[in-house]
């Protein structure tokens, strides 16, 4: 057990955890940030995606000890940012979610993409989201919503 001071969604959060504990379980069990989802535990589905210093990471395989002072942004924090908010609005306007379980990861990854590439090509969208599984098959609407969020940039 060790003590960690994490920077999550702009605030300092103290947690005690085994150093090998994946950030996913620290967020969900320790910090009660349950918007980040468990889907596979082996970085195959993307449901657990969070931003670490702005880059999308699979929190299910990221040990808490490796996070250090990095800024962690979860789905709960992503809407505080104008791009993140636009992505969420596009997800609603496009009626994207079905069961919704994968969508936290999709929204977080799309936010990272649009911050990096405001007008991504089809290939760039594929590359950014091909690591994410939607079992309900909302892929077409995701594609449309990404385009909508990109278009609406100020």
């Amino acid at each position: 057990m060790a003590r960690y001071r994490l920077n999550v969604n702009g605030g300092a959060r103290e947690v005690r955890a085994d150093p090998a504990t994946p950030l996913l379980w620290v967020l969900r069990d320790g910090l009660e940030l349950t918007g980040t989802k468990y889907g596979c535990g082996i970085a195959q589905c993307g449901a657990c995606t969070v931003l670490v210093d702005g880059a999308p990471k699979r929190s299910c395989v990221l040990p808490v000890a490796a996070v250090r002072e990095a800024k962690v942004t979860t789905i709960e924090g992503v809407g505080a940012d104008a791009v993140g908010r636009r992505v969420q609005d596009a997800w609603v306007a496009g009626d994207v979610p079905q069961c919704g379980y994968c969508q936290s990861g999709m929204v977080v990854a799309t936010t990272a993409l649009l911050k990096r590439e405001p007008a991504p090509s089809r290939q760039a969208v594929d590359d950014a989201l091909r690591g994410h599984i939607c079992r309900c098959g909302t892929y077409e609407r995701i594609r449309t919503a990404v385009a909508l969020a990109a278009e609406k940039r100020a």
Partner: protein
């Protein structure tokens, strides 16, 4: 006493009801039916009795009720009911049936409520109810220019008898139904606020992961838990080797309970359980396949009543025979199976993603001995259902563990647990024999199904009687064959547990039937569309979707241009016919599907956005199944354990899906599963057109 009357009566007895001018009367909510409650503040709460799994029932059923009641949609809130069969009737979900079974109920509730609100306003104004209109939660009397909000009428309306069969709106009068609306949960699901069972927390809660029997039938021989008990955070190790609720199959297992998920997982890694083999300990995929082939050739087949004519006497200028094969597949809903139970000394609560809340209640009664009114079942949002949530195995485990520990317990399946302890879609084989006359017309089709059935494995179907459930998609043939024989050799004997899976048996059955008719068409030298149309009754809904899809995709222009070929299929799920045209090409040895055109006639379209989403989703599901999905067995156990070995369809593989909604006056019928069965045969037919090679087993390999 009706609950609505009771609410008001108690308010009156408690002195809360103020007698005075109309404006100040509204003190209590008006709840004329279990489905809707009008709040004194002007809002409306609609209660949906089944789980929201992503299929859009909350939004769809609320739209129906709100439309008949002329509510202001912006002030509608939806809640999911607890398990209460007395109040809500059957709350189970399966077979894409909710709209079919509940649309009328919700419309009637809305119309009846509207009727008493109008009557209350008319009485107050001394006018005829028929001279009043309603809109956005307000009754209006145009002749006198008066209007009153529903909220002002609640007390008066509660005194009036609720009509049992109120007139429903004509289609042309519907204002909310038929227009696309995002799901009510869209915002919460896009911002991490939606609460799934996995997200519910209770004070003092423990997390349990369970080491379950490696194959059905194995039993616990010995448990070595010394190391697991030393893991920090682990609170207990509990053997689960009896089943308190035999209606649900559960695996024997050993639970590791800890204060958090990671500690529970670490505890389980340190646990050693020795298992005593069951009879299927050595079952493997080759043995399953050999058994299916033996069944296919068995003499003792049962004949379906849907058979007609004498296939043996049919003219046979040509005879075509083919056997189709479908593998075991798993659900892989993205939120793994889980449940949270909080069993106290005299009451209990359960949170679960479930398609069978009545079973959850039954299990809770069996485990706790409490009466139903001491048990609260929370049907949470579910991260996918697809039939997996018809099983309540995690609920049975969580109830026992919570009772034993005296604390709330969440049972969480890991992805590996979920994939290796599923209630799989069964493997099956279908053999067809068809005859053609010299002019190329079909003279007979004989279809033989071989495989296990869910009913036989669970004992609700009788051996020696035909289990029609496994013949869905075949026992009401869409085509008017001059002679048709449907036979089956069915068995209870299968080494893994099988269950309901999006469109279940219709998927393998339609794969066989719709591939075979394509084979017949090619053998007859006919166009596959024209060949089908010749066998369809004029004016039938099936013919309607087939014609619609052919027009939209411009089938008549069909040429295998640019290395792309097309295939067609016509299927039916419940009362919903679906036609698909799939484009396929082969790129670097892999099958690519750039585009699917799909026409569906699901009767009255409640929320077009949801219908389109479900059709697209069903196609994504079916494409993954047709290209990738196969569970293989070794030692009685699935060899695929996670998405690395059981890969899902991904964004870059998703075809463009063009959905044609065929307008129809019929009652709403199945949507969620309807687009699944037709994809594989249409794709197989496209690949035949492309390569000249007929693919008769899925997943397809070229």
């Amino acid at each position: 006493m009706k609950r609505s009357r009771f609410l008001l009566a108690s308010a009156a007895a408690g002195g809360a009801l103020v007698i005075g001018p109309a404006r100040s009367r509204a003190a209590a909510a008006f709840e004329p039916t279990p489905w809707v409650r009008l709040e004194p503040g002007g809002g409306a709460t609609i209660t949906v009795h089944v789980s929201e799994l992503g299929q859009g029932v909350n939004t769809g059923l609320a739209m129906l009720l709100a439309d008949e009641l002329d509510l202001d949609w912006r002030r509608v809130r939806v809640v999911t009911a607890g398990a209460d069969g007395k109040r809500y009737g059957n709350q189970g979900i399966g077979g894409s049936r909710t709209m079919r079974t509940s649309a009328k109920k919700f419309r009637t509730a809305g119309a009846a409520t509207r009727s008493v609100l109008v009557a209350a306003a008319a009485r107050r104004w001394g006018v005829e109810p028929a001279s009043c209109t309603t809109r956005d939660g307000t009754v209006r009397h145009a002749a006198s220019g008066r209007s009153v909000a529903y909220a002002e009428l609640l007390t008066d309306a509660a005194q009036l008898p609720l009509p049992q069969s109120p007139a429903l709106k004509a289609r042309s009068e519907l204002r909310i139904v038929g227009k696309p609306r995002p799901l009510l949960e869209a915002r919460d699901k896009s911002s991490g606020r939606a609460v799934y069972a996995m997200d519910v927390r209770r004070p003092g809660m423990l997390v349990a992961v369970v080491e379950r029997a490696p194959h059905a039938g194995a039993t616990i021989a010995a448990v070595h838990d010394d190391a697991a008990r030393t893991i920090p955070g682990v609170h207990g190790i509990v053997r689960l080797d009896t089943n308190p609720y035999p209606d649900q199959f559960v695996w024997p297992g050993v639970a590791v309970l800890a204060r958090d998920t990671w500690s529970a997982l670490a505890g389980r890694r340190a646990l050693r359980v020795n298992w005593a083999d069951g009879p299927d300990a050595n079952a493997d995929s080759d043995a399953v396949r050999a058994r299916l082939i033996a069944l296919l050739d068995a003499p003792a087949a049962l004949t379906s009543k849907s058979s007609k004519g004498d296939v043996r006497a049919a003219l046979a200028d040509k005879t075509i025979e083919a056997t189709y094969e479908s593998p075991i597949q798993c659900h892989a809903q993205l939120e793994p199976s889980n449940a949270l139970a909080d069993v106290r000394v005299d009451r209990c609560e359960i949170w679960a993603p479930t398609q069978s809340p009545d079973d959850v209640l039954g299990a809770a009664r069996a485990v706790t001995g409490f009466p139903a009114n001491a048990i609260q079942v929370h049907q949470t949002l579910a991260g996918g259902g697809f039939g997996r949530r018809s099983e309540i195995d995690p609920v049975v485990e969580a109830l026992q563990l919570s009772k034993r520990m005296g604390r709330p317990v969440r049972v969480m399946y890991t992805r590996e647990d979920d994939m290796t302890h599923d209630f799989y879609r069964m493997a099956s084989m279908n053999r067809l024999r068809g005859t053609l006359a010299a002019d190329g017309s079909v003279t007979s089709v004989a279809h033989r199904y071989a495989g296990p059935t869910i009913g036989l494995q669970r004992g609700y179907s009788k051996a020696g009687e035909l289990d029609d459930e496994a013949l869905e998609g075949l026992d009401r043939p869409l085509y008017e064959y001059p002679a048709y024989l449907l036979e089956a050799v069915q068995t209870a004997d299968f080494p893994v547990r099988i269950g309901w899976w999006r469109a279940v048996s219709v998927v393998p059955n339609a794969f066989a039937a719709e591939s075979f008719i394509d084979e017949l068409a090619h053998a007859a030298g006919r166009d596959p569309l024209a060949f089908r149309l010749a066998l369809l009754a004029q004016g039938s809904r099936a013919r309607g979707v087939l014609t619609a899809v052919a027009e939209r995709a411009r089938w008549s222009d069909s040429t295998a241009a640019g290395g792309v070929a097309r295939g067609i299929s016509l299927t039916s799920y419940g009362a919903t016919p679906v036609a698909q045209i799939v484009e396929a090409r082969i790129e670097g040895g892999a099958i690519r599907v750039p585009r699917v055109t799909c026409a569906i006639d699901c009767g009255m379209i409640v929320n077009p956005s949801s219908v389109i989403a479900q059709v697209q989703g069903g196609i994504a599901w079916a494409l993954g199944a047709a290209l990738k999905h196969k569970i293989t067995l070794a030692h009685g156990r699935a060899q695929q354990t996670n998405f690395a070995t059981y890969p899902m369809l991904r964004l870059h593989e998703m075809p463009q899906v063009d959905v044609v909604l065929v307008d129809s006056d019929a009652d709403p019928s199945a949507v969620g599963e309807a687009s699944v069965p037709g994809l594989a045969p249409a794709l197989g037919n496209a690949l035949f057109a492309l390569t000249g090679r007929r693919l008769r087993s899925t997943p397809f390999i070229v």
